[in-house]
Point group: C2
Chain length 336, copies 2
DNA sequence: CCGGGTTGAGAGAGCGCTCTCACAGCAGAG
DNA sequence: CTCTGCTGTGAGAGCGCTCTCTCAACCCGG
């Protein structure tokens, strides 16, 4: 119990090794300007005492904390249990940070006062940088922190002008490929279930659908969901009311696509014979639906990793591009 | 940019308010021994300068960091994208910690050297306590940290003797209810797909199955999977080879149950008419399978919350029970 | 054999905060 | 009016580390 309080300090190591604190510090931090015999003496002393540097003391003087915050938006919590998006982001970020020997501090703005807490915490220089897995509307916090000189990178192109560097995936390219695939396979009435129009992912995916249809003589048939399964089921019902003859639907998220499939089944439509369905995300689970879902793969894990990489660059004082856009890819399975 | 370096210190606030550093510190930390007029003068100064305490400096003297580590085992990463278990744990832990104004530091032992990193980091008193979402085999680290006087709580009853307090769910009770349900509905050949036998969750769920069958005259029919969908599909095939007449199966995880259902379908068995299927977990997605899955609900979010609560108690120096077991509950849907 | 340069180690000043201790001021008791 | 006992405030000593500055030791060329 009390052992914990008797942690050896630099001082103790220095005494044991018969050198000064400064020298121990040099060895511990890998300075090259220490002669070999002394270096190994210090190493031995460190080993013997089980010395581990005190992070707080180090931070106090270096002004670094070697940890970075990942802020998940309010909505993350709601979706968390069913949607592997945030878990994958976390996972990707974690991989890169581990490699850089940085720590990951997770913050959610879901609880009461969460937003303020995030602000307080991050501006307190508790962390060296902040990552926003922000996907909703206009969040002023990233810009604010950026202005204060805090390294910040956000996931997803921000709505409106923003000087904060971001990483996103090529929504439009992926969607266009999906719609083109439907056109190429001879579908004539291609509807879409769009995502929320206060999110870039929702906006861009709808834009991609419209852009690709514009080149053909097909008219657009649109319903809007909120990326949840339930909303997909409801939207599908609406679409079929609007146009009972539709023979294809591009759904802006896999979860909504699952909902849409359920509805189509209930109403006796065969997939893909009567209605072709294409999703967007390529969640693992989409390989196991019946039929397996044709969908647009976005590299979520890679998105997390790239996010972390960019932030580490900013922290290191390197120049980073204002935007990194990762490619998406159509994965053709049985549903279209 | 440089603003960040010009953060006001206690000193600055004290000067502006015309008091000493000590008094400002008292106000900031909510000590009751400060007269009202002075208190509000300090508050005003804090406000005006936008003062935010430096966490490192504070930690250095208090020996507290107000953050706790959540360690996810290697296997978490593999499962991460498809299995909402760890996300839910994270979510639950996060909720409690937010309420206590503590920070969550996520660590994964998945990367090379991860284990050592975790050890280094946590023993460096970087955090006030450590939570292990450990579910695999025998992990010496929790015990080690515990011995060093570090507050530790683990999720899942540890294999073997361990003085570390844990939180777990009532696997056996849940499984027995599930098997009883199958017995009560007249099933006569009840098989099981068990989880890995190096995990308590795997062991206990198999034990529950055996215990409940023992009371009847049914014999046990067992296959073993590793909690993944694929292993469930494979195990189901084995079971049907072993006993083509089986009319029910208790599957030790929802994901494996999904795999089992796929296999049953492929082999032309109707669910639940020919074979009844019961899972364990109650993942969201199990409501949407065809047919909706009867399963044992374990309160994962609550598990995360309880984990955090116990740890906070240990940190506060309170006595905690060596084990907390949360109830499980059979959720009857269409598959059995 | 001396001067200048180079290298390696130590001394010491903080980083920003908390907390103990000393003490000023004041009320009430004697 | 003095003494005791509060209460509220300030002074100052660190917490454990890094980093600059100083200086000793040694090398080499002239």
């Amino acid at each position: 119990m009390s052992q914990a309080h008797e942690r050896p300090t630099l001082e103790a190591v220095a005494r044991l090794a018969g050198v000064s604190r400064a020298t121990v510090s040099r060895v511990v931090n890998g300075s090259p300007k220490v002669a070999e015999p002394i270096r190994s003496a210090v190493r031995r002393a460190v080993e013997e005492l089980g010395y581990i540097p005190n992070a707080a003391a180090r931070s106090l003087v270096t002004q670094r904390t070697d940890s970075i915050a990942l802020v998940l938006p309010e909505s993350a919590s709601r979706v968390f249990s069913d949607d592997p998006f945030f878990p994958s982001i976390i996972h990707g970020v974690s991989q890169e940070l581990d490699a850089a020997d940085k720590q990951l501090v997770l913050m959610m703005t879901n609880t009461v006062g969460g937003y303020e807490r995030v602000e307080r915490y991050t501006t307190a220089r508790h962390v060296d940088g902040v990552l926003f897995a922000s996907t909703h509307g206009v969040d002023p916090l990233p810009g604010q922190l950026h202005r204060l000189g805090m390294p910040v990178v956000v996931s997803g192109r921000p709505l409106g002008r923003s000087p904060v560097p971001y990483v996103d995936v090529d929504h439009i390219g992926g969607v266009r490929a999906a719609v083109r695939h439907l056109l190429d396979s001879g579908r004539s009435r291609i509807a879409t279930i769009a995502g929320p129009q206060d999110m870039v992912a929702g906006i861009d995916r709808l834009a991609g659908y419209r852009a690709e249809l514009r080149g053909s003589d097909r008219r657009s048939i649109v319903a809007v969901g909120d990326f949840t399964r339930e909303s997909g089921a409801t939207a599908m019902r609406q679409l079929l009311e609007d146009d009972p003859q539709l023979d294809a639907v591009f759904v802006a998220s896999d979860l909504m696509a699952h909902g849409a499939i359920t509805t189509l089944r209930e109403l006796g439509r065969r997939i893909p014979e009567d209605v072709a369905v294409v999703g967007f995300d390529d969640f693992d689970i989409s390989r196991y639906t019946d039929p397996p879902l044709t969908t647009v793969r976005q590299p979520i894990l890679e998105l997390g990793r790239e996010l972390a990489r960019q932030l580490l660059r900013v922290i290191a004082g390197e120049e980073v591009p204002p935007a990194v856009v990762l490619p998406t890819e159509l994965v053709v399975r049985a549903s279209a």
